[in-house]
Amino acid sequence: MKGENRVLVRQISVFLENKKGRLLEVTKVLKEHDIDITALSIADTTSFGIVRMIVDKHEDAVEAMRKSGFTVSTTEVLAVKVSDRPGGLHEVLEVLKDNDISIEYAYSFVRQPSENALILFKVEDPLKTSDILKKAGFHTLKEEDIRNL
């Protein structure tokens, strides 16, 4: 399936050891392959970290990272538009709680000053969650939408 028709957004996750220069190695590979990072989140423990990214050319990024010897995986996450005002995120989370959906992780990004912020959610059933949020009046974004922000 081509990225253009996806309801969900593909995220590339990379395993990194917690040591100097490893993140630099990731950005170097992406730079060399002319890949733009749209959103970035890093989860870390004392010994290792997981870098999660939304990029403009997902397949290229996965291939390039693998070739450079990284362990990578693709995860589908849900991108939700929320109002950039106090309580904006809270409203989304309330809907998720009411529907008994737990969040594995979430991170946000803002491309440019605007009325909305974007939150990326990893949940167990992203398609179902997407429907629930749409019904509750929230707007979810496709991969293409994110690329065109």
Partner: protein, 432 residues
């Protein structure tokens, strides 16, 4: 069932013991007269060759160690003049000088015979195409298998170790049916094949003849599954002859020691006492046909046990269990004996873990510590911290269960741990 030399491989034990005794008496006489080192040792013990009348007298003889070979570097223990030696091999000296071994023309013939038996044990025939990916050179692996494969009449591809992509390409193009190399290199080849996107159906590979390092049953399964082959374990060491000392048959229930050429013993590594049949201890060999460098009760430092029960394959030669570890790579951590192979089994049991791991032993505040590095493959990877932490804890928990040791498990990036194209290094002991 195929045999290379049925009369010897299936000889009745009574007859075999008689043959061993005759050959032992002759060997002892020869080393006494030709090797000053052995003559001195025997004289110190008040022994003359006539005291050794059969294999029952073997425990009277002194041991030979790797140290003794080093002290007589390079040719001190040779039992023939150099003019009779037609080949020299040497084993890698991790500390200082290598150990040097010499072969007469007859030794090379014997070795070729034993390797032809070994290859036959593993399912090879004269119709096989054998890719020899053991290193060629001073190491006995490459040339040992090579001569045996030629003796067998198979087609030999003497590619040696290294250049893995080329190995895979030639394996496909040349229609290799038998791969001979170290088990860790076989796994490396399998991984490279995956990376290159080679379809297994394009290969004719059927059998693997793997040895030169200890490996677990779990690793065998992994290699057999990945390469879709039957893999046997072979055993040997240059000081005794090289590969061709012992080999599994296709029943894979222990390695048959070629007893018409080598007499095995199992001893307590601490006391040197011969242990009762079936007990685990250090393997000791006396060569009874070698001319260039006969060894008397050579201590291999390998830990195994012997099984004299008949094997379904029909060979009568005693079977040694897979090597459990080495007296010198056996780690003693907080008083517990630990072999790297035990941790390897745990990792494969946990599932889908490609066994790329490294053990780091240290002593901090007078307490031994064990750190286990495990490479995170794509199969193990999760983008959730929680799941990776669970994996780490599970490995640590299993090690505690099996060995009773608290190990610190560290997940590391792929290719962090050095890949081997020869023998693999699994342990760094910082306590020394």
């Amino acid at each position: 069932m195929n045999y290379w030399n049925k009369p010897y491989e299936c000889m009745e034990r009574e007859q075999l013991v008689k043959l061993q005794s005759e050959r032992l008496v002759e060997t002892v006489r020869r080393v006494y007269h030709n090797v000053p080192y052995y003559r001195n040792l025997m004289q110190e013990r008040g022994l003359v060759p006539e005291d050794i009348k059969g294999i029952e007298d073997l425990p009277k003889l002194p041991f030979t160690t790797k140290e003794d070979l080093r002290n007589n570097y390079p040719y001190g223990l040779f039992a023939v003049p150099m003019s009779e030696i037609i080949r020299i091999h040497a084993s890698s000296g991790t500390t200082g000088k290598p150990t040097v071994v010499g072969y007469t023309r007859q030794d090379i013939i014997t070795w070729s015979e034993l390797m032809a038996r070994t290859l036959t044990c593993g399912g090879a025939t004269k119709d096989s195409v054998i890719q020899v990916a053991y290193g060629y050179g001073l190491f006995t692996g490459g040339l040992g298998v090579h001569y045996g494969a030629e003796r067998l009449g198979a087609s030999v591809i003497p590619i040696s170790g290294g250049n893995t992509k080329r190995q895979v390409m030639l394996m496909k193009d040349f229609g290799t049916t038998v791969l001979a190399c170290t088990p860790s290199y076989a796994l490396h080849i399998a991984e490279t094949m995956e990376e290159m996107g080679i379809d297994r159906k394009e290969l004719k590979l059927k059998n693997g003849i793997f040895g030169a390092e200890p490996w677990s049953e779990a690793l065998r399964k992994e290699i057999e599954t990945k390469l879709e082959i039957t893999a046997i374990d072979i055993y040997g060491l240059s000081e005794v002859i090289g590969p061709g000392v012992a080999s599994e048959c296709l029943y894979k229930q222990g390695l048959h020691i070629f007893e018409d050429h080598f007499i095995p013993d199992i001893i307590d590594p601490n006391t040197g006492e011969v242990l009762p049949e079936g007990e685990e201890g250090e393997l000791v060999f006396t060569t009874i046909t070698k001319e260039g460098l006969p060894v008397i009760r050579y201590r291999t430092r390998d830990i195994t046990s012997l099984n004299y029960e008949p094997c379904p394959c029909g060979r009568t030669h005693v079977r040694m269990s897979k090597i459990v570890g080495r007296t010198d790579d056996m780690l003693i951590i907080r008083g517990v004996n630990v072999f790297p192979s035990q941790i390897e089994s745990i990792l494969i049991d946990i599932g889908q873990t490609e066994p790329h791991y490294l053990l780091i032993v240290d002593r901090i505040n007078n307490l031994d510590t064990l750190e286990v590095w495990v490479e995170v493959s794509e199969k193990l990877f999760s983008d959730e911290v929680r799941k990776l932490e669970q994996l780490r804890k599970r490995i640590s928990h299993e090690i505690l269960n099996v060995l009773g040791i608290n190990a610190r498990v560290k997940l590391v990036e792929p290719k962090t741990i050095q890949r081997s194209e020869g023998k693999v290094r699994r342990v760094i002991d910082k306590r020394k």
